[in-house]
């Protein structure tokens, strides 16, 4: 079944269905080929994977240009897959403005990360395996954004979860990496339960899983009331897990145990974006339920606050970025909560570039110093100029400084929040001060001051593949710096697409027009305030961490309770581990199950044995070993049978 919808201006996209499937299949083929044939030929595995994702990237660009040419029309290609009773499942792809943007973001960032990984992962014994997992992950992510129905989306959604588990636990021989992988998998699974429940709910109530039909149901008011709210909240539960929203954000910082390019790809640009994408995709549903919308907005705000405050106290550069990601994802949810569908997607778009840049920059720093601990860095500005300048631009962009990409998207979120919900605006504005503060704290600690020597290479450690001398850091090779430079271009210019609201119109064409709200006009007042807030944050960081006008230890003493709270991550990990994992599961549920096992299951087994023992204890007396007694028994038996026969058949 083929459905084509033209945008208000223009025609339906004419892109061939084969191109769309090829976007998904290219990395999948690379995954299969690497796994089956070239896993032990590292260089070739890398090239194959880069080639495949390169083809996907080119095809994604073609798709984007095509949809741009159609002013954001929609094309849906759907095929019957199989039928099980009343359940009819379809396999289809859908291309529209939202999907096209996501495709280009995912494939371009993936491509750069893949190129960069050649330098970062050089010499790792799992090099081939790394590229196989990366290809699988990219397949899953591309499939997720192209899926035209919830069931297929769910399959790819779980594939994303699986491949992120594999990649986070890539160095599985490290106990910390193995447990981080398990944590990520289990925590996101909690959210996925909500998504699955939403899918079952919509199927049992309305017998459809197609995205466009669900949109229509929501807009026509057929899908309404409690069902609508529950459906929306179920979807949101999935997004909370995948996009690391409070209170399920705890997996993301730990996920930094994976290789840094994985962090860049999964935890900055793509995987965590899946949750925001899901919310954006089903925005007409969320928007139709005020309750769901409120929950989305305030959970987003809580995430913004939690992420930003925790980023302040991290000493690990990657963890600063991880909490920053959590906080930025919170901004996107917050934007959705104030009707800012296009704005949320726009922030996702710009964030992908500057956050991938920052992660890859931190990887480059790690490559020179053998550590992520900022207390062991400093002064890298002069020895790693490319890394420094690109990192600085990424930081400025994230802080929302004019005219970089982050300024445009963050400013619009603040504007939407100001117009629709002053409470959310307050949270977002304060957090944007903290954002600038923690990011420049990281920059000053890493790149300014004097070099603290990095982490000495442990030659005893067989897992360490560090080449070079941490005491004399150097700039990384071109395979690592070129992706940084390209991403820098994105971090600077990605926001300019929205200067005349072209981006917004393009993305908005992907959902029915009835679900849209008029975006507020650009406000100089908001723009200037948000810029001033960001500059104030940078100034504060400069005063504390560069000039040392105020000692950070002094501040810590003044606000000791808060500092302790932050350093322990609001005790959330302890709550989950001690209260839920230990008390509820280990001591409660597991005990209950154990009790059932030892009494009911073991009881049944032992009971059968007991009956056998007891009955044989009686029956053994019949076995005397006297053969004549047995003979007498047989004779008696025959006699009894004969009597019975005579009684039954009288002569």
């Amino acid at each position: 079944m083929i459905q084509l919808f033209a945008a208000a201006t223009g025609e339906a996209p004419g892109i061939s269905e084969a191109v769309l499937w090829a976007i998904i299949l290219c990395p999948l083929v690379a995954f299969a080929a690497i796994t089956l044939y070239v896993r032990h030929l590292p260089k070739i595995a890398g090239y194959l994977s880069i080639l495949a994702i390169g083809v996907s990237f080119v095809l994604s660009l073609i798709a984007l240009i095509d949809v741009l040419g159609a002013s954001g029309g929609i094309a849906i290609y759907s095929h019957d897959w199989f039928q099980a009773g009343p359940l009819e499942l379809a396999l289809g792809v859908r291309i529209d403005g939202l999907t096209a943007v996501m495709l280009v973001v995912v494939s371009s960032v993936s491509l750069l990360v893949q190129v960069y990984s050649q330098g970062y992962m050089e010499g790792d014994p799992g090099y081939g395996r790394y590229y196989a997992y990366m290809s699988l992950f990219i397949t899953a992510m591309l499939g997720l954004v192209l899926a035209d129905n919830l069931f297929m989306l769910f399959i790819f959604w779980e594939l994303v979860g699986l491949s992120s588990y594999l990649l986070i636990g890539f160095w599985f021989h490290k106990p910390s990496a193995a447990s981080a992988a398990k944590k990520a998998f289990i925590v996101t699974r909690i959210g996925d339960l909500g998504l699955l429940a939403a899918i079952l709910l919509i199927w049992t109530r309305h017998e459809t899983l197609a995205i466009d039909e669900i949109h229509e149901l929501a807009l026509a008011g057929v899908l309404g009331g409690t069902t609508l709210t529950l459906f929306g909240l179920g979807l949101f539960a999935g997004a909370v897990g995948k996009s690391a929203q409070f209170p399920l954000h705890v997996w993301l910082p730990d996920a930094m145990e994976g290789p840094t390019p994985v962090s860049a790809l999964i935890h900055a640009a793509t995987m965590v974006a899946a949750g925001v994408y899901l919310m954006a995709r089903f925005f007409p549903v969320i928007e139709a339920s005020p309750d769901a919308l409120t929950v989305v907005g305030w959970i987003g705000a809580a995430t913004v606050a939690v992420g930003a405050s925790l980023a302040l106290v991290q000493t690990d550069l990657k963890r600063v970025l991880a909490y920053s990601t959590i906080s930025q994802l919170g901004y996107m949810m917050l934007a959705l909560g104030v009707f800012g569908y296009a704005v949320a997607v726009f922030h996702l778009f710009t964030h992908a570039f500057f956050k991938a840049l920052l992660f890859l920059g931190s990887g480059s720093v790690n490559h020179a110093t053998n550590t992520f601990d900022m207390r062991l860095m400093g002064g890298l500005r002069t020895v790693m100029p490319i890394t420094f300048w690109t990192f600085l631009i990424g930081t400025l962009s994230l802080s929302g400084i004019f005219p970089l990409a982050g300024f445009w998207s963050k400013d619009e979120i603040l504007l939407e929040a100001w117009v629709n919900n002053k409470g959310l605006y307050a949270v977002a504005a304060i957090a944007s001060f903290v954002t600038a503060l923690y990011m420049f704290r990281a920059v000053f600690m890493t790149f300014f001051g004097t070099y603290k020597g990095g982490e000495p290479v442990d030659h005893e450690d067989e897992d360490s593949h560090f080449h070079g001398d941490p005491a004399h850091p150097h700039e990384s090779s071109w395979v690592m710096t070129v992706p940084l430079l390209i991403l820098t271009a994105g971090a600077i210019a990605a926001g300019w697409w929205a200067l005349g609201k072209e981006f917004h119109h393009f993305v908005e064409a992907a959902i029915p027009a009835e679900a849209l709200h008029k975006a507020p006009d650009f406000s100089y007042w908001i723009a200037i305030t948000s810029s001033l807030i960001a500059v104030a944050g940078i100034g504060t960081a400069w005063a504390i961490y560069h000039r040392g006008l105020v000692s950070s230890t002094e501040i810590r003493k003044v606000v000791l309770p808060i500092a302790v709270l932050l350093e322990n991550k609001f005790f959330l990990d302890d709550l989950y581990e001690r209260a839920f994992a230990v008390q509820v599961f280990q001591r409660g549920w597991n005990r209950l199950v154990e009790l059932f096992d030892t009494t009911a299951v073991d009881g049944a087994v032992n009971g059968v044995g007991w009956v056998g023992t007891q009955s044989s204890r009686v029956l053994r007396h019949a076995q005397t070993g006297q053969v004549q007694l047995y003979g007498a028994g047989i004779a008696a038996g025959v006699f009894i049978v004969a009597i019975i026969v005579f009684i039954a058949n009288p002569l």
């Binding site: 005397t624 006297q626 004549q628």
Partner: protein, 103 residues
């Protein structure tokens, strides 16, 4: 005039005697003799049925008897050999003492 019942009565009496001997004698040889007696009582019964009937049943009776005599001879040979072998290893053929499987 001898009728079928006379033969059957004698056969049944012989069978019961044989059974009592087989179940009560302690000596294995005696038990075997009891079994032989039971077999022969059955032979007598069969030959009596054969004598008092016509047609194919007549020859069937003879065939059964010839067959049983053969089997009984073979059985006696095996059983006596077993008795000798048991006596050699246990110095006894008292069946109530041959209860090794029970131990």
């Amino acid at each position: 005039m001898l009728t079928l019942e006379h033969f059957l009565t004698v056969g049944a009496l012989l069978f019961c005697l044989g059974l009592v001997i087989a179940l009560s004698k302690r000596n294995a040889i005696g038990v075997l003799m009891g079994i032989e007696l039971m077999l022969n009582s059955v032979n007598l019964t069969l030959i009596a049925f054969s004598r008092f009937s016509d047609g194919p049943a007549e020859i069937a009776g003879h065939a059964f008897v010839a067959f049983i005599i053969t089997v009984a001879a073979a059985e006696a040979a095996v059983a006596l050999a077993l008795a000798v072998a048991v006596y050699r290893s246990r110095q006894t053929v008292e069946v109530d003492q041959l209860d090794l499987l029970k131990l």
